[in-house]
């Protein structure tokens, strides 16, 4: 495993980010990670999302995954749910679009309409 000092530094960085809890609490992002999603680039979308959250210190955004939703030709699919807005499903998301969704939708509360393919969660 990694040297103890490096992990210690990482822990301190993560703790610092956790301490700065801000108003974006409660946002939820679900990435479709079935075989179709993975083949279409969902893993790269996930990496870009985590990188963006790490750099912005948005530790409290919940990130999860789901399987195939039966819309394989619109993959990668990403559902974003923020307090006060209906859930929005984005289609054909790539890392650039994902970063924009973080900045516009999660941070600023503005739905990125050009990539939104549905509103309202399956669960609702």
């Amino acid at each position: 495993m990694k040297t103890r000092e490096e992990l210690q530094a990482l822990r301190e960085r993560a703790k610092a980010a956790l301490a700065v809890r801000d108003q974006q609490g409660g946002a939820r992002v679900v990435i479709a990670m079935g075989t179709c999603g993975i083949a279409a680039g969902a893993r790269e979308v996930m990496s870009s999302l985590l990188e963006e959250l790490a750099q912005r210190g948005l530790s409290e955004v919940s990130v999860s995954q789901t399987g195939c939703k039966g819309l394989c030709d619109r993959e990668p699919l990403v559902e974003v749910c923020t307090p006060g807005l209906p859930a929005v499903t984005y289609g054909a998301v790539n890392p650039q679009i994902m970063r924009r969704i973080v900045a516009d939708h999660i941070v600023n509360g503005q739905v990125v309409a050009e990539y939104a393919i549905a509103t309202g969660s399956e669960a609702e």
């Binding site: 992990l7 956790l18 075989t35 083949a39 985590l50 959250l53 790490a54 530790s59 995954q65």
Partner: protein, 182 residues
């Protein structure tokens, strides 16, 4: 799938679906035997003989939402096109082990790709699952273990975005360090 690691992510997600508490991933690059072995072993609910026999059939699936299951069918195709094959051992209650063997230097073998991204996605989705990854290149190796990592991180969860972002780059560096060419 453009990378072998994407198949690996897909397989490990099958393990999560099967209720695994631990997943062991082994990637062995053996230049002397011109072989690349990729194993995913879990302690999930396992499959009976009939399910194992049909697991790589694209028109067989245990789920009820639709009639297809492509993951293992695609993985078998990739292994066979790369001069190798696929082996599945499983039994109800005894977990599942999926072993793919590929010719390391085969023209049609896709690159291994971003293993850090795979571990990142798995640790994000299932931080409580004991995920181990061992990568061997000849006599050198790299070991990854979410439980050990969690011990070092103490109160910071392994699924924290700062940790996961770091993890991806770290795995890339470590694999370069042991001379991975896959």
């Amino acid at each position: 799938m453009r990378e072998l690691s994407l198949h690996l992510l897909d397989l490990a997600r099958n393990s999560l679906e099967a209720g695994a508490a631990s997943i062991d991933i082994l990637v062995r690059e053996d230049p002397a035997r011109d072989e690349l072995v990729i194993t995913v072993a879990d302690d999930g609910r396992g499959m009976d003989e009939e399910a194992v026999r049909r697991a790589t059939d694209a028109f067989f699936t245990s789920r009820r939402t639709r009639k297809m299951g492509l993951g293992l069918a695609l993985w078998r195709g990739t292994c066979e096109r790369s001069g190798g094959g696929l082996e599945i051992t499983s039994a109800p209650g005894a977990g599942t082990t999926v072993t793919g063997r590929l010719q390391l230097t085969h023209w049609d073998r896709p690159p291994l790709g971003d293993m850090g991204g795979v571990l990142q996605a798995l640790a994000c989705e299932a931080p409580a699952v004991h995920l181990r990854y061992r990568h061997e290149v000849g006599a050198r190796h790299f070991d990854f273990d979410t439980r050990e990592l969690q011990q070092e991180l103490q109160e910071v969860p392994v699924c924290d975005p700062t940790v996961l972002h770091w993890l991806r780059g770290w795995v890339r560096e470590e694999l370069a360090e042991i001379g991975s060419q896959a």
